[in-house]
Amino acid sequence: MGYPQKIHPRETPVLSKHFGDAEALTLQGWRARGGYAALEQALGMEPAAITNVIKESGLRGRGGAGFPTGMKWSFMKPGDGKPHYLCCNADESEPGTFKDREIMRWTPHAVIEGCAIAAYAIAAETTYVYIRGEFTEPLREMTRAVKEAYAAGILGPNAMGSGKRIDVHVHKGAGAYICGEETALMNSLEGRRGNPRIKPPFPAVAGVFAQPTTINNVETLAAVPAILTNGAQWYKGLCLGSPKSTGTKLYSVCGNVRYPGNYEVTMGFSFKEFLYDLCGGAPEGRNFKAIIPGGASVPIMTVEEAEGAVMDYEGFVAAGSMLGSGGVICFDDQQNMVKQIARLARFFAHESCAQCTQCREGTAWMTKILERIRDGGGTPEDLDTLLDLAEQMTGKTICVLSDSCATPVISGIQKFRQEFEALIPPSRSRVSTAAVATAVA
């Protein structure tokens, strides 16, 4: 069972090995568990060699996009005379996801070590760890661990005696899901409103302070020390399916499920076995009705689709969804899908940065329509309007928050249309909506 439960025998604890182990929090305890050996090894290698190991390992971004990490690092041109920056994206806000929080509050030194290795590989002297403001405990542990690392000379102008400068600064966010988007994160770090930027230019060309920047997720960076220590082949071997998806993934399981928590399994695991053997299935006396496998932004799956899925990047796509952040949200047969999709739309409407018209207006409009349907005031035209809105909101904005709002609406209407229709009497048409609304109120 996933943390906070005991480790299930079918899990592969790499990142989660020390969850719940208070002694692993301190520098001393971390070193006793092999910590910082990887950084020491890295500082004796050529930066390009480190990037090659990560490329070989097949590590892909664990924040949601799944971009090959080694490739991302190789975009940082050495010797260009510009200051390079690394940003650790610790703004975890995708509904259903709570893995980075655990990584930071139980193994902050793993994150610091991963950041330090990455920073050295991409010639970045300064790393910013952007942690969302609500993460009180991760902020406290990361700040404390950074201080410990500086005091021990692991960080600073002469990292571990290598002559290289590695600085890490914790930067606290202030409440904005959109700041998990890499360009919005950079704007926020610069002291601006968290509006995403148009790409190109890409961060590796012009990122924070207009300088070459790499942004990586917490889980991605936390995997780096183990990969360096155990080798790329080892990481590639942690894979039961497609060779394009290697290593382990921390899945955050929540909602209506018997054993919620973070589970770490190798890529290629059977989603059916995962949901029932490891997570315990639906709560007592209930059955699953819908599963979202990768956070609120990925398509909702029917139970049938979920039971047939393989847990890796390609597998989830083949089964009609995406791996995303790995936030597994379970809905049982007592849930009202219209109500939950309306609540997800409200989330996106609240979090829209409001730059793009389609997103600003579309998320709010979708929310209004969905809540009206939920409350019995829906019309037959509403579903067509929602799908039309969804099309206008997809692929036409500066960032994909807009697309993310459309996704549960599209998949919800596609796969749970009967629940929407049940709330909309066929006799009701737009003409009499006002009269009906008064009658319903």
Partner: protein, 185 residues
């Protein structure tokens, strides 16, 4: 808040209509003196621009005063070489900076879908009742509590999480509410 948010029926706290000055009319004393000034000066060495210290500086203001007043925005602006209007633009973007005083205990309950299906709305109801607030966003008559709903707090497996000021409490149920509140004076 944005017009879209207002359209969706978010409540406007009465004091949001004031200019962001101290509601009791007390004169403003600067935040960044002494130790706080030293802290800000050290912080500025972490970034190549002064502007990048804006969010951290605003946090220092809120830690000291409990909210970010218009006077504080003017102070921060002048220290960082920004305009007060720019600073207000940043403050209004982020949900965690209070633009008016709130109850001594600012209670935030996550009600996004993963927590929603685990009874988050029941937790909200229990809190509204036990604190005496009655309504979201309205400070209780004794000035101790303000309760709001927030979006995903990133603790979905520990439903329902509740933040009270900086304290992050996991696995809150309606049954636990009286106990949790009784610890707060």
């Amino acid at each position: 808040m944005s017009d879209a948010a207002r359209d969706m029926g978010q409540k406007v706290a009465p004091s949001e209509l004031t200019a962001g000055h101290d509601p009791h009319g007390a004169p403003y004393g600067p935040v960044f003196v002494g130790a706080r000034r030293a802290e800000l000066d050290e912080l500025l060495t972490h970034y190549p621009t002064k502007m990048a210290a804006l969010l951290p500086a605003l946090w220092m203001v809120q830690e000291d005063r409990g909210w970010v007043s218009a006077d504080a925005m003017v102070e921060v602006a002048s220290l960082l070489g920004l305009t007060p209007a720019y600073v207000r633009g940043v403050v209004t973007f982020y949900t965690m900076y209070h633009q008016h005083p709130v109850g001594r205990y600012f209670v935030q309950v996550c009600t996004t879908s993963p927590c929603n299906v685990c009874g988050a709305e029941d937790v909200v109801r229990a809190l509204l009742e036990r604190t005496g607030c009655g309504e979201l966003g309205v400070t209780s008559p004794d000035g101790r509590f303000t309760v709001i709903e927030v979006e995903c707090l990133g603790a979905c497996g520990f439903a329902t999480p509740v933040m009270i000021n900086d304290e992050f409490i996991e696995s809150v149920t309606p049954q636990r509410v009286p106990d949790i509140l009784s610890r707060l004076k």
